[in-house]
Symmetry: C2
Subunit: 206 residues, 2 copies
């Protein structure tokens, strides 16, 4: 873990924030510099282009997301609880973002991927990587549900995980497009549990 210069980290965080709540195409290098309070020369000292910055942002962002996800999906927890925690985490994060920026921002990987993955293979590759890892966490949890006899094992865990994750991306998209936080509250957990086959009752308090 090499330490990142302050200005560089500032630019990375600013880029993530701006692209997440707006879009890749709408955010210019000037925007990022202005918001970060950094001059253009400094930007080009650390990054070769917007594409370069974006790729480094994705890597940088994932280093902060990964440990959270591994905590949420920790195998030491009850599998149902992992999905509960996941839904709560997503809702809480999106609520914070909406409070900050006035918009439901959705999934940064899905939004960026939708816009950019048919333009840039490096971006595409990184996003697919995140998708694969997250689906892996889903699959492991579903496997544990089966092993615990909590759901029946008609479908393969990886298949269920894939469908469940696809649904989650759908919810995040709809919530962003319609700028509706309640969509996440109402539809994320219930739909996810439906697809996986968990008995849907009122959620346990976090």
């Amino acid at each position: 873990m090499q330490k990142i210069p302050k200005t560089k980290e500032n630019l990375l965080n600013t880029a993530i924030s701006l692209v997440w709540r707006n879009s890749y195409g709408l955010v210019t290098i000037d925007d990022i510099c202005k918001e970060a309070g950094v001059l253009k020369g400094s930007f080009y000292h650390y990054f070769g282009s917007k594409q370069d910055l974006t790729i480094q942002s994705l890597d940088y962002f994932y280093t902060s997301v990964r440990p959270m996800f591994e905590n949420i999906f920790s195998p030491e927890k009850e599998p149902v609880q992992r999905f509960e925690d996941y839904c709560n985490f997503v809702y809480k994060s999106q609520k914070e973002l909406k409070a900050l920026y006035g918009h439901v921002c959705g999934c940064p990987y899905a939004s960026l991927g939708c816009e950019m993955s048919n333009q840039d293979d490096e971006i595409k590759h990184r996003i697919e990587e995140v998708f694969t890892l997250t689906q892996g966490l889903f699959a492991k949890t579903i496997k544990d549900l089966i092993d615990d006899g909590l759901i029946d094992e008609k479908a393969k865990p990886t298949d269920k995980a894939h469908k469940a994750y696809t649904y989650v991306i759908g919810v995040m998209m709809m919530a962003r497009i319609q700028n509706d936080l309640n969509l996440i509250k109402r539809e994320m957990r219930s739909g996810l549990f439906n697809i996986i086959g968990i008995n849907v009752k009122t959620p346990k308090p976090a």
Copy 2:
């Protein structure tokens, strides 16, 4: 139905095509004019801005999509068949687009909505309208499934329709991001039928 001048229609179609396969932010007015073989002066004769063009494109595009959807979801057909036809239609369209442009283009409303609906309320409004209408078609079909005794009626049709449509949007996003047509083939029908509660067997030949 007033007739649209040739040049204007050309610009509308070009804009739809370019934005669909790339993105809103990446496509410039110059791009659209160049691709359409139209000079900028003509562009501004018909449209006031890119935003104006986009809104008119959405309206124009939906006039061609709507009758197709109403045919697919015609109440005279068996309800299961409607969903079969819907899946086949989506797959076929995306296959054609991929053959033309080399990319899975996904749902134009969802992609544009993701990028633009927190920037522009008029665009957002039109996209939500399409979503509402499509979910209505889903809900009607699900209601017919219940009436025919083909699925049990635990959940409300509108609720199921909403979850089903959310899943469809998820599939379209994943297919676009990963540029993978097979995702639509493999996951669209099976996931949709699962959520709705239709017995999933091998699809009937179209």
